[in-house]
Amino acid sequence: MRKLPHKDVAIIGLGWTGSIMAHGLSEAGLDVIAFERGPWRDTAQDFPPTYAPDEYRYRVRHELFLRPAQMTFTFRNNPSQTALPIRDWGAFMLGNGVGGGGLHWNAEMWRFEPSQFMLKTHLTERYGAKFIPAGMTIQDWGVTYDELEPHYDRFEYLCGTAGTAGNLRGAIQPGGNPFEGPRSRPYPTPAQKQPFNATLFAKAAREMGHQPFPQPSGNMSQPYTNPLGVTLGPCTFCGYCEWFGCGNYSKASPQTTILPVLVKQPGFTARDNCEVLRIVLDAGGKRATGVVFVDTDGEEWEQPADLVLCCAFTPFNVQLLMLSGVGEIYDPAAKRGNVGRNFTHQTVSTATAFFDPATHRFNPFVASGAIGMCIDDFNGDNFDHGPLGFVGGGYMGQVQTNGRPIETTPVPAGTPTWGAKWKAAVKQNYNSSVYSGSGVHGSFYSYDDVFLDLDPTYKDRFGRPLMRMTIDFHENEHKMSAFLTDRYAEILRAMGATRVDKLPRTGHYDVTDYQTSHLCGGAVMGAEPSTSVVNRYQQSWDVPNLFVIGASSFPQNAGYNPTTTVGALTYWTLDAIVNQYLKAPGPLVQA
């Protein structure tokens, strides 16, 4: 294998976290190389407005996503089953190429609630340890909301986030989310304008005593130039955000916020279409010496580096640790190991509401990925769980992101699934129903039997074991989903719907049914090496010159979209590397 000249930093994955780290560390004077398994992606060249809104190409045929032939996982619901390979993505999508998930997201930009970062402590103090269900393995993060606040702020200002502040330095603000943690300054841009369906939802929610506010959005409400000097344009409400790249430069993404500056940064190099196969460790296994990657000719190369950053998507970060022998793989039976432990996703549910076409014409195609009016009254621990017998929650809202023709076919339950009657029902209801893909965005807390490990049977194209996902819903999440969906349906009824079809999350976790792409955990952060893979700075306990960055660090998943917290954690880690690690390379927290 050929060895390339040494670099200071090797970054695996060039999405949000990789771009932010590459920019910050090359700015600090380091020689940085980033590896991206997929292609380079440029707005005008690769997803221009002339064909970006192609629902079949992007939504149905998964243009921007990883091909399972390149890499996939096996899946099962519980350890008693035999896992089988996933051959077509369903429950979640795996971004591929420069920009990663940051290119195809909706840009719903939530901060997590402050109590989330102390979740186990908080719930124990309020309800007692016995209130937490058996087998649930939630834990504190090792970092607090107050510590992350400046980094949340930095990410929001990078993205130009549009929103209405609800809590400015402790003072509750009218029109914002009263449950949010204190923010040091307002959002960089005002909230997006809201369409009819969201306005109606907010009115109904307010009249029911809830506290609606506009969803914080990375779709621009106005032109914005970020602190790096990069300009984004105003959103045109085309309704092609999630699953798509934005051809109009109006959705925050690495492409529209950071890459134009990063690519000109001295000391930065990127290799696209190069897949990192493993992190190379020294003989003692306590120090990373670089990475091995494979190019499109199938040739393997070694890239030596002083610092290695795993900036791939959640499961790939975990997989790289497993395939590189960093840490011990979680074994639920033996109660050993942490790599793969506390894997989580989301508990999404919704309800579809039908209105009288003569009085309600919603024009759902006027939309953006993060548009909508929401309430946070039933998220986190914003409400008393005592009488309800479950923990967790979620935001809910009228957040219909599109009216795209192939997928927007709301019909009342019981309608035939094809044929003339189905067509007539679609025609009748298309413009007079509200149809949020994720109207209720529920949390997914961690359990001892939801985890990642290596599959004993199936191999990837390099002959290595595939990673195996073992994941199912538990009674706590079913109860939560039923409760939240009922609250949501009440509001939809109050909007004046003639019929509401509830779709709470029930039964087993279904890998073919799309929820969100919010896979979390598996390489979680924490204060103790006994229950975490990385310390509070996302630094590996086992290999101190390796940082594992992203939602893989979440000990459990909150009832929010994760990316803003991923951005905040990335800036938090960048700050720790630049201001602490580089001055004295070694563990930033003593185990």
Binding site: P49, T50, P223, L232, G233, N248, P260, V261, K264
Partner: protein
């Protein structure tokens, strides 16, 4: 058309060349008198530093550094001219393949008169008809800076023009017709700022090389300074004080911001101008850019008396529909654009040039705007060549040129068809 033009040019060149033979024989090769004195001193910080700034003003890197990681100033970049492709020379101090053996006199002779050291004539793709206005101090300073570069051993074959244009003797006849030797003289009727601008524009910046209309032989058309030209498949727009097509509607600050960042409240540079901004004007001092703006805005425009195409014209109606469908999401329905991203079209001089080449080009092929340190976004327009046919491009371009109070001649489908073919065949397009 291109071949025909080439043939005519060659014929005229040869004829003129014969007439000029007697003159050539007695042409004094070097200047004499005090001007021949050397000021170049590669040992002096201030001289070298001044030379570097003047070299930036003169934008030598644009031609003499090959794209995509070419060694600085080692030449080898193909330069597209109306007569064929010329390859730029190596101007590093390599003694064998560069200009390492050149004296300051040799260097000044090249910049002022277009002679290489061995006495061979340089093609006026090297803008000596403009550099001839430069002071000896500035020329020497540039040479001083070049002497400090790493010598790069790289042989460049620059004789790439087809017969008979490869006979460099012909250039002497060309010089007789179009070249006026002489240093810049300030105009006492104007102030220092104007005169500084005049010096920079007519001399080192050589703005006229692209922006002044050319004769069939590639010489500047008399009396039409800076009134716009077509070069390398782009329209180099009118940069006089003309209010509709030139810089008349831009403030001094608008011009300075454009040259500094590649963008201003209305425009975004792309094509060869984006390259100029990146390599040259974005690196210049604000006061020099101001002087350039003052001078250019004082230049007379043209009174072309073009009438607007009426909104009722079928092409305008089709163009309005295409615009709403394909253009309005970025450039906005009223043509106002988005500052820093999508250029303004309403009232913009660049869309109202008499020649529509750039506009057609940008619609067909797309274009990337300049990314500079103070405006790093570098947004790009996508290509529409696969989506709009010739008549549709002609309609939307006609519409853009005549909507919102704009006024410029209609564009025919046949013109788009010719452009489409020409762009597709262009060997060295500027992105």
């Amino acid at each position: 058309m291109r071949k025909l033009l080439l043939g005519t040019a060659a014929f005229v060149l040869l004829g003129a060349g014969a007439l000029a033979a007697a003159y050539v024989a007695t042409d004094p090769k070097l200047p004499s008198g005090p001007q021949a004195e050397s000021h170049g001193d590669a040992q002096s910080f201030s001289e070298v530093e001044y030379g570097r700034t003047m070299l930036t003003v003169a934008d030598c890197a644009a031609c003499h550094t090959a794209k995509d990681g070419g060694e600085p100033f080692a030449g080898g970049r193909p330069i597209e001219t109306p007569f064929g492709v010329i390859v730029s020379s190596n101007i590093t101090p390599d003694r064998e393949t560069g200009i390492g053996t050149w004296t300051d006199e040799d260097f000044a002779d090249a910049l002022w008169h277009g002679f290489g050291k061995d006495g061979h004539q340089i093609y006026p793709a090297m803008p000596y008809p403009y550099y001839t206005h430069m002071t000896r101090r500035d020329v020497d300073a540039i040479h001083s800076y070049l002497k400090t570069l790493k010598p790069v051993h790289k042989q460049v074959v620059s004789d790439t023009l087809p017969f008979p244009l490869n006979i460099r003797l012909g250039m002497r006849a060309w010089n007789l017709l179009y070249f006026r030797d002489g240093r810049f003289a300030p105009d006492p009727a104007h102030d220092d700022v104007y005169n500084r601008g005049a010096y920079l524009v007519t001399g080192p910046e050589h703005c006229g090389a692209c922006h002044t209309p050319k004769t069939v032989l590639g010489g500047d058309e008399a009396g039409k300074l800076y009134q716009g030209n077509v070069i390398q498949g782009w329209t180099a727009p009118n940069i006089t004080g003309d209010r509709r097509r030139g810089l008349g509607s831009w403030s001094i600050e608008d011009v300075v911001e454009y040259l500094k960042t590649g963008h201003n409240r209305q425009a975004a540079s792309s094509g060869p101008m984006a390259e100029e901004v990146g390599l040259s004007s974005s690196r210049m001092k604000d006061e020099e850019l101001r002087a350039i703006a003052v001078y250019l805005k004082a230049q007379p425009g043209q009174d072309d008396g073009a009438a607007p195409v009426p909104a009722s014209d079928p092409a305008m109606r089709a163009g309005a529909a295409i615009y709403a469908d394909s253009c309005a999401s970025c450039h906005r329905g009223d043509g106002s654009g988005v500052r820093g991203l999508f250029p303004t079209l309403a009232g913009a001089p660049v869309v109202q040039q008499l020649d529509p080449t750039s506009l057609i080009r940008v619609v067909l092929q797309g274009a990337r705007s300049a990314a500079t340190p103070s405006a790093p976004t570098g947004a790009a327009m996508p290509s529409y060549d696969w989506r709009l046919d010739d008549a549709q491009v002609a309609a939307v371009v006609t519409y853009i040129r005549n909507a919102w109070g704009n006024q410029a001649p209609a564009v025919e489908a046949g013109t788009v068809a010719k452009s489409r073919r020409a762009f597709a065949e262009q060997a060295h397009p500027v992105e």
